[in-house]
């Protein structure tokens, strides 16, 4: 049998049910792979004791009726609170924080029998597109073409690296502006950001509450369907989680997309779009057409304004959400000098605890919400957000079932490449993904091919609200047609 850690979730589930493997064997294979992958810096808090305990319990209840993820080893992004396990959003300000409670998403996963291998690296407070703002140091992409170390993307960079390198069978991610889909595209993996409200945000450390959404990062579309089903739920602890039934997403994967209408938005054909990205996008269109879908050109006229509106709304919400890190209730408190009062305690604690990018976004948010600028920036951005959502509503009303776009403007870039660039250059990484967060829509990144260097490229499919099943089915058809099977060759 192949190394157990290289199995997909679906393959492992079937092997466990047939008694061909045990969760203990599967978990040991992953723990061994993690031990050998220190160079990727993907797992930042390892929990082998918890994993082995959960694996033994899963083996004890293994049967045909066992829950969907029984005995499946997963990695958990450091943004999710897990009871008794360090959960610090890759920030020094939460150094030592061990939650006394469990996030709803991880509780759902454990309820479905999942095994937790540890916490995964990410950009600090999910603010970044390259995993370079983490207090744990950079996560590294298992894909490389020469001596350069490449970014796995961000913010869910550790999740993407771990899944691509077969350190775990699947991982949780979160996506506020592209943080699931861009890392998935950079690592040849699948990641879906569900509709806003599909997964509970309770216990997920908040960045921008009106945009944040959790989702799975996996090796295949089928695995994303299985994992999303377990993660999603209505939750009274999150007033924005929707009270809708969670359909059987896996059962909806027929691969039949005949008669579906796929929109191609002309505004995504950016000036200076790389020929390779354009070529993979064209191939994606052809593949969906060959599978029987109807391809139509559409217009989403406010696309260009999604990113600037995001950089008002997300920092505004962050400045409010991150006000709680004040050195009083949890995490780091600065050492004070004689005579320092409470204001000095706040200011020193926050200066020491937050990294540069987080400080910058908090301050931008503070500025756009401050007296005299609130209308000019924040309210205007919220109005633009209404228009961005309306663009999509009009496309769907005209009969479009899904929208096909590139996932990222480039393949994975070198760690450190953006060090001297102004912050806006890094923000442009999210140009194709951020529109969905603004409109609350589901989106999935599917590996579609390799660029000339041999690095993975992803395509993004955007679906109607709460139609993740239909969206995943279109993604499944694209995945089958693209036939992406490449894996990074092991150097770590």
């Amino acid at each position: 049998m192949t190394d157990l850690n290289t199995l997909t979730i679906a393959e492992a589930r079937d092997a466990l049910r047939k008694g061909e493997a045990t969760s203990v064997e599967l978990t040991e294979a992953c723990l061994k792979a993690i031990e050998g992958a220190g160079a990727l810096n993907a797992f930042v808090h390892k929990t082998p004791e918890i994993a082995m305990e959960q694996a033994k319990a899963a083996d004890a209840r293994q049967s045909a009726e066992a829950p969907s993820l029984n005995g499946i080893p997963l990695g958990i992004k450091d943004l999710f609170c897990v009871k008794g396990v360090p959960s610090q959003a890759a920030s020094a300000i939460l150094d030592g924080f061990k939650p006394e409670y469990e996030s709803t998403v991880t509780a759902n996963l454990f309820g479905a029998g999942a095994v937790m291998l540890g916490k995964l690296n990410m950009d600090e407070f999910a603010m970044g597109s390259s995993n370079e703002t983490s207090c744990y140091g950079n996560a590294v992409n298992p894909w490389k073409v020469d001596d350069r170390q490449l970014t796995p993307g961000g913010s869910s960079g550790g999740s993407a690296a771990a899944v691509a390198a077969d350190l775990c069978l699947g991982a949780t991610g979160t996506d506020t502006g592209g943080s699931i889909r861009q890392p998935a595209a950079f690592t040849g993996t699948v990641g879906i950001k569900p509709t806003y409200g599909r997964c509970s945000r309770w216990g997920v450390i908040a960045y921008a509450s009106s945009l944040d959404q959790a989702g799975p990062m996996t090796k295949t579309v089928r695995d994303s369907a299985i994992m999303l089903q377990a993660m999603a739920s209505h939750d009274v602890k999150d007033s924005t989680s929707v009270d809708l039934p969670v359909p059987d997403f896996e059962a909806m994967l027929t691969g039949d997309i005949r008669g579906k209408t796929i929109g191609i938005p002309k505004e995504y054909r950016l000036e200076g779009l790389s020929e390779e990205i354009d070529a993979v996008w064209t191939r994606g269109k052809e593949m969906l057409a060959e599978a029987g879908a109807k391809i139509v050109d559409i217009s989403l006229p406010h696309t260009k304004y999604a990113l600037p509106a995001y950089y008002v709304i997300a920092p505004a919400e962050a400045s409010s959400n991150l006000a709680r890190y004040d050195g009083v209730r949890y995490g780091h408190r600065a050492k004070l000098s004689a005579g320092d009062g409470i204001v000095e305690m706040y200011e020193k604690t926050r200066a020491e605890g937050f990294g540069h990018e987080v400080q910058r976004r908090i301050m931008v948010g503070t500025y756009v919400l401050s007296a005299g600028f609130y209308d000019a920036y924040y309210n205007r951005a919220r109005k633009v957000r209404t228009l961005i959502k309306r663009d999509f509503e009009q496309a769907f009303a005209a009969g479009v079932d899904a929208i096909l776009t590139p996932a990222t403007p480039s393949s994975a870039f070198e760690l450190g490449a953006m060090k001297d660039a102004d912050p806006v250059q890094m923000y442009l990484q999210d140009v194709f993904t951020v529109t969905l967060n603004m409109a609350g829509l589901p989106g999935v990144s599917v590996p579609a091919g390799l660029d000339a260097q041999g690095l993975p490229l992803g395509l993004q499919l955007i679906g109607r609200p709460f139609q993740e099943g239909d969206l995943l089915n279109t993604a499944y058809a694209l995945e089958r047609a693209a036939g992406f099977v490449s894996k990074p060759s092991k150097w770590w």
Partner: protein, 95 residues
């Protein structure tokens, strides 16, 4: 829009983040770059458009105003850098 050093200092103060004097010019420049990027929004005609309050069309659910998970003082204080006698402890606030 260009942000000057004094505005950067004021924003840092409002955000309760200590920024050293010599770091202010670079910070002001970064703010100016980001705000310059945001200025594009002025091109959009937003006349008569409602600002978005909820991305999903739903009414927030209501519930009885009762304690559901109370009596957890020790858990709440567990992660505090300084907790004493059942309270969070902070530097002296009132002289």
């Amino acid at each position: 829009m260009s942000i000057d050093k004094a505005t950067a200092a004021k924003v840092a103060k409002l955000a309760r983040i200590k920024v050293e004097e010599d770091a202010l010019p670079a910070l002001a420049e970064e703010f100016s770059t980001i705000l310059g990027f945001i200025e594009q929004l002025n091109e959009v005609d937003v006349e008569g458009v409602e600002p978005m309050t909820s991305v999903t069309p739903q009414r927030l659910k209501r519930r009885e105003d009762i304690v559901t998970e109370g009596d957890q003082q020790d858990k709440i204080l567990k992660n505090a850098p300084d907790a004493r006698e059942g309270f969070f402890a902070v530097p002296k606030v009132v002289e």
